[in-house]
């Protein structure tokens, strides 16, 4: 099957996904379950990575700024910019594509190869709507919160790194963080997050739903899903940056 066929099949899948849920109470139950599986269970990794990467960005900037004519507050400024514009929305999304994407593909793929999806269809349930729509809503609702948390912890990680290493003063760092703050950057980051979140929920779902074979194929589909979701995120990042900041 060529790439165009996959793209076409993906959009046909979306048409089935975006239908009215057959029973709202069941949909709500699924939604809360997905918020827990896809969102809350990612909190730990997001907090850990963003805190330490923020620290590393601040240390590396501090080590690069050895010219006495360059003000030290630029460390805070640069850390803030990198974390808000790129690290939190884009790289955190790539990390989530790996963690959550592989989970989505393997869980739906396993349902496919063990006939659990057939069981839903036989009952007269729109399996795509039942399985994928709650995932989309859950990530669209929860990922912006995760990314905002990643932004805060990344910047805070830089601040803690300054205190721990004595490479810069915390007052300079805070001044740099506050300097020339543009709220539009947050908006830009959240718009990107929503687009990436949609990709993280739907591309792995596509790979899992249409998997054929057994557990080996489910594993392969998970890998493919992570690769393609990451590619889409990186490409969309480029185009969105052009559109929103260019």
């Amino acid at each position: 099957m060529n790439y165009f066929e996959h793209v076409g099949k993906y959009f046909i899948m979306l048409k089935q996904v975006f239908k009215k849920p057959q029973k709202w109470s069941v949909f709500k139950e699924m939604l809360f379950r997905e918020i827990e599986d896809l969102g809350l269970k990612s909190l730990g990794i997001v907090m850990f990575i963003s805190f330490f990467v923020g620290g590393v960005v601040a240390i590396q900037t501090a080590l690069s700024v050895d010219n006495p004519f360059i003000p030290k507050y630029l460390i805070g400024f640069a850390t803030k910019r990198s974390v808000i514009l790129e690290f939190a929305p884009t790289f955190m999304s790539v990390i989530l594509a790996g963690k959550v994407g592989s989970y989505i593909t393997s869980s739906i793929g396993t349902m496919r190869v063990t006939e659990q999806i057939d069981a839903l269809e036989v009952m007269g349930i729109n399996s795509l709507n039942y399985l994928v729509l709650p995932k989309i809503i859950a990530v669209l609702f929860f990922y912006p919160l995760l990314i905002l948390l990643a932004m805060f912890l990344g910047i805070y990680g830089g601040y803690v790194a300054g205190i721990m290493t004595d490479l810069f003063f915390s007052e300079d760092y805070i001044y740099g963080v506050q300097l020339d703050f543009n709220p539009y950057f947050i908006k830009y980051a959240l718009i990107k997050t929503l687009v990436f979140a949609f990709a993280i929920a739907t591309i792995p779902s596509y790979h899992g739903y249409y998997v054929k074979g057994g557990s080996l194929e489910v594993g392969r589909a998970s890998t493919q899903a992570v690769v393609w979701t990451s590619i889409v995120i990186i490409l969309m990042n480029y185009f969105l940056t052009q559109m929103l900041l260019g």
Partner: protein, 255 residues
């Protein structure tokens, strides 16, 4: 009654079903048998509406699949219970939640009423104390019984089973066979079983359809299977020495 009328199904240019016509009657355990690749799973999936035949139709008590609206299709599917080969129980749900799932999806019953119904069907399949367990915590035979309980929880008119006793020991397989037959009689439903287990065929096959290379090669009952002279079914059913001897003994006794 389910009427299958001249259905054809192909995949990638390869004809899998070639003009199958038959009927499945109420209160009977109907069996589809045949070698691997003979088309029996495809026929079952056509009956379930998971595959659409290119030609012909399937009629469920006068409702032709080709003439049903999406809403009617959905209604029809709610009248179908299905026992999949591997059980197809939802791994992330407990046994109670698995069986309750169709009730939650299609009825407005209270939780207490649904739980009572779950307990009733679990009791019917001789399972107790498993409500809060997950499918992975049960044996293969118990999972099959849970699958049967889920299939009958909505009081279906039609029960389909895909190799319900594959992977089970002979004792448990007989228990499952008898359970399916009892339920068929008790609820007066149409049961269609896809199987290549000859013990099941002999035990509960009230009507048997033998498929060979997508063609219906023989049709009859488990008593007729001993007497038939049809070479295709003789080669299939009596491929083992044990069954050959059983047949010889049966025919000698008749003489």
């Amino acid at each position: 009654m389910i009427v299958v009328e001249n259905i054809y199904k192909e995949f990638n240019g390869q004809q899998v079903l070639k003009g199958i016509s038959t009927t499945f009657e109420k209160g009977k355990t109907n069996m589809i048998i045949g070698q691997s690749g003979s088309g029996k799973t495809v026929l079952l999936k056509c009956l379930l509406g998971l595959h659409t035949p290119e030609k012909g139709f399937i009629s469920f008590d006068g409702r032709k699949n080709t003439e049903l609206s999406i809403k009617d299709h959905r209604q029809l599917r709610q009248e179908i219970g299905m026992v999949f080969q591997g059980g197809a129980l939802y791994d992330s749900l407990t046994i109670e939640e698995n069986i309750m799932f169709p009730l939650k999806m299609f009825t407005d019953q209270t939780f207490r009423a649904m739980r009572d119904r779950v307990n009733f069907v679990l009791n019917r399949v001789n399972l107790e104390g498993v409500n809060k367990k997950f499918p992975a915590q049960l044996s293969g035979g118990m999972q099959k019984r849970v699958a049967i309980a889920r299939a009958i929880v909505m009081n279906p008119k039609y029960l389909f089973c895909d190799e319900p006793n594959s992977g089970l020991d002979p004792n448990t397989a007989t228990v499952i066979d008898n359970l399916i037959q009892e339920i068929t009689k008790e609820y007066d439903i149409i049961t269609v079983i896809n199987s290549h287990d000859m013990n099941s065929v002999m035990e509960i096959g009230e009507k048997i359809i033998f498929l060979k290379n997508g063609v219906q090669a023989w049709e009859g009952s488990n008593s007729e299977i001993f007497k038939t002279e049809n070479e295709a079914i003789i080669n299939f059913v009596y491929s083992s020495n044990l069954f050959k001897k059983v047949r010889e003994a049966y025919l000698n006794e008749k003489k």
